[in-house]
Amino acid sequence: MSETAHQSPHHIDVKEFHPRAQAAIHNPKIRQNFRKAMDGLMSKRKSAFEGWDLETLRDLGANIRLRALANLPDLLEQLEEKLTENGIKVHWALDSDEACRIVRDICVARDAKSVIKGKSMVSEEMELNHYLEGQGIEALESDLGEYIVQLAGETPSHIIMPAIHKNTGEISELMHEKTGTDLSHDVEYLTAAARQQLREKFMNADVGVSGVNFAVAETGTLCLVENEGNGRMTTTVPPCHIAVTGIEKVVPNLEDVTALMALLTRSATGQHITTYFNMISGPRKADEMDGPEEVHLVLVDNGRSSIYQDDELLDTLRCIRCGACMNHCPVYTRVGGHTYGTTYPGPIGKILMPHLIGLDEGRHLPTASSLCGACGEVCPVKIPIPDLLVRLRQESVDGDKLHPARVTGHGAKRGAMEAMIWKGWSWMHAHPGAYRFGTNMAARFRMLQPGQIGGWTQYRTAPKLAPKTLHEKLKERGQ
């Protein structure tokens, strides 16, 4: 793995959103790759829900998640108890560093030198690969998309489809350069080549690391959704399996999983079901032929319990990581996932990342939305993403004395000039006489209106003031 340069997300300055967005906008390849991919995903989702009462199903999904969150502390205790009964070792991690250390300690105890990984966004959040490499432990991604991204020394640009920013040609060149495969646009060939490269690693890995889609408290079951079989290999072939998950992924019963699964796969990739659905309930038993000797679950907090304290921000934790908000976001479609510079990009990233990194780092994230509402409209568990964006905008400028901010780094975006402009704006619009005088004067002297208005006239002509305001027209009419 020494030839693969891992790039830690920490090397990306989140604050540099603007220049990255500009670069992405002017990169026709990025624009084309994302437009094509997102158009496809949107239409697949639409047809996957045909014949379903989607609103009722979304209500059900939202309620399942809300009910789970309402009882989160109890459910987590129940989960720990059941998992322990089943022979799974449970670890609690307050932050990414602690979670990484737990994984390392398990590896060290087994004298493990190589880790094979299934797809896991929490491990991206933890920068686990980077950390393990630093500890002399090889960590190889086995999800095809993640594998490609790892070969390229990049981070995922989408939470479901990590390599969606690359087209077949780019992937072919990358694999040729890094692994010596032939240059080919034949997807079958490329997939087979990657499979061959990975197969050996599966057989020899000391530890398998995976994520978790749902953790069922009642039965102590870890559910894992995937399409390639690499998740099943990761969790069964190596002698030790470590699952990592955020603390919010717990649901009370197996029944809850049914509805959430129906929503998850359709929302994410437009599939009715995935190829594999793994339910892990313990290590290999004495009379069983295969499966790992030991199974661990690392429950990662990493800022989640602080969101949990707030009635409004809590809704962020409903997320089941389907990525539909990204697929439908007109901003994400234009700039792609890497522009955000965050583990989770797109709309969910904009409301989740400020909790993980603070608003001083992520101050631009909540503004990078036209508040069009497409994300909230498609969210299978009805997270009110636009409302949460407004809430975080308020926190980023400390703009509400009545409802003080809760997220770290609040007020980081407040500028003296901007604050003064809004104060003046507010005074004028709260005083109708001043407003009418101001707007009448503006209409009268509209010839003096500036022809250039910052970013607006970069792409459009300046709006033209009417010769008479509606107020004036109606006054003339005697109203």
């Binding site: 967005a21 500009q22 906008i25 002017h26 624009r31 158009d39 007109p330 901003v331 234009r334 700039v335 909540p366 503004t367 939305s369 036209s370 508040l371 069009c372 509402g373 497409a374 909230g376 409209e377 009110p384 636009p386 905008r393 308020q394 926190e395 400028v397 703009g399 509400d400 004395k401 009545l402 409802h403 604050a419 809004w422 704006w425 507010s426 005074w427 619009h429 709260a430 109708p432 707007t439 503006a442 910052g454 970013g455 607006w456 006239t457 970069q458 792409y459 459009r460 002509t461 300046a462 709006p463 003031l465 009417a466 305001t469 509606l470 107020h471 027209k473 109606l474 006054k475 109203q479």
Partner: protein, 259 residues
């Protein structure tokens, strides 16, 4: 985000007209058209003179104290129990959906909720409360329509515009690709993220131009300013109008004024 079931009131004899600041300063004809359409339906229109702005620009920018001060100045303008009609999905959405949140934990929360419950987007009101019947007096024409995201998703009136235009016998309504996608306006978003907003509006304009329509109508002045402004600057053969101006022109005797 969308009301699951909308309970429309019976047709009233009077309504409050809330003009919005963009209509007031930039598109007063759209406001006049809305008022005339209501009057033609036999409704008396009351325009509270002290209205200014709903407060949305500051609200979505995070300046909630400032937004609240402006919104509070509007709360006293509608003392009677008449519907409040707004020629904008965006300002309508602010008043209907966000006033209750904005005034949470203040002494004005009950009043804000009461007013929010009386706010209607004007085209929705014309179609579903007034049950308006439009007679087309215009020449045959082809138009495209862009429904604002707030009209579509906050106010749930995406079907209304096409239905109203469908009543006009000489109007051929064409649909652009990705009709549901945002035009990139988003208030201060267009200023804060000009490149992204510019990319969005350029694709929206291309999509509309590709329909072959030379004219488009919208429910919101923000989208109108954005789409028409881009078309003008980039010399695209496209002109825009607020849907209310269009409906009034097509159905009043004063034909051909615009062309």
């Amino acid at each position: 985000m969308v009301d699951p079931i909308k309970v429309y009131p019976p047709k009233p004899s009077k309504v409050y007209f809330y003009g919005t600041c963009l209509v007031d300063m930039f598109y007063p004809d759209a406001g006049m058209a809305g008022i005339q359409l209501l009057e033609r339906e036999g409704i008396e229109v009351i325009f509270p003179e002290n209205q200014t702005c709903c407060g949305q620009p500051a609200y979505t920018s995070g300046y909630h104290d400032e937004a609240r001060a402006v919104a509070k100045a509007q709360l006293g303008l509608f003392p009677e129990d008449w519907p409040i009609v707004v020629p904008s999905g965006s300002c309508g959405g602010m008043m209907r959906k966000h006033y209750p949140a904005l005034f949470k934990d203040t002494g004005d929360d009950v009043k804000a909720a009461e007013i929010a419950g009386r706010v209607w987007e004007l085209t929705d009101f014309l179609l579903n409360v007034c049950h308006i019947k439009l007679e087309d007096l215009g020449e045959p024409t082809t138009v495209a329509m862009h429904t604002s995201c707030s009209a579509r998703r906050e106010m749930g009136v995406a079907e209304v515009g096409p239905k109203l235009l469908g009543q006009l016998s000489n109007v051929n309504l064409v649909e652009q690709v990705r009709t549901e996608e945002c035009c990139g306006f988003g208030g201060t978003f267009a200023i804060r993220h000009p490149e992204i907003s510019g990319a969005m509006v350029s694709e929206k304009v291309d999509a509309i131009v590709d329909t072959g329509a030379k004219d488009f109508v919208t429910t919101d002045c923000g989208c109108l300013m954005n789409i028409a402004g881009y078309a003008e600057k980039n010399r695209k053969p496209l002109e825009g109008q607020h849907i209310l101006s269009f409906l009034w022109e097509r159905t009043s005797a004063k034909k051909g004024e615009r062309s």
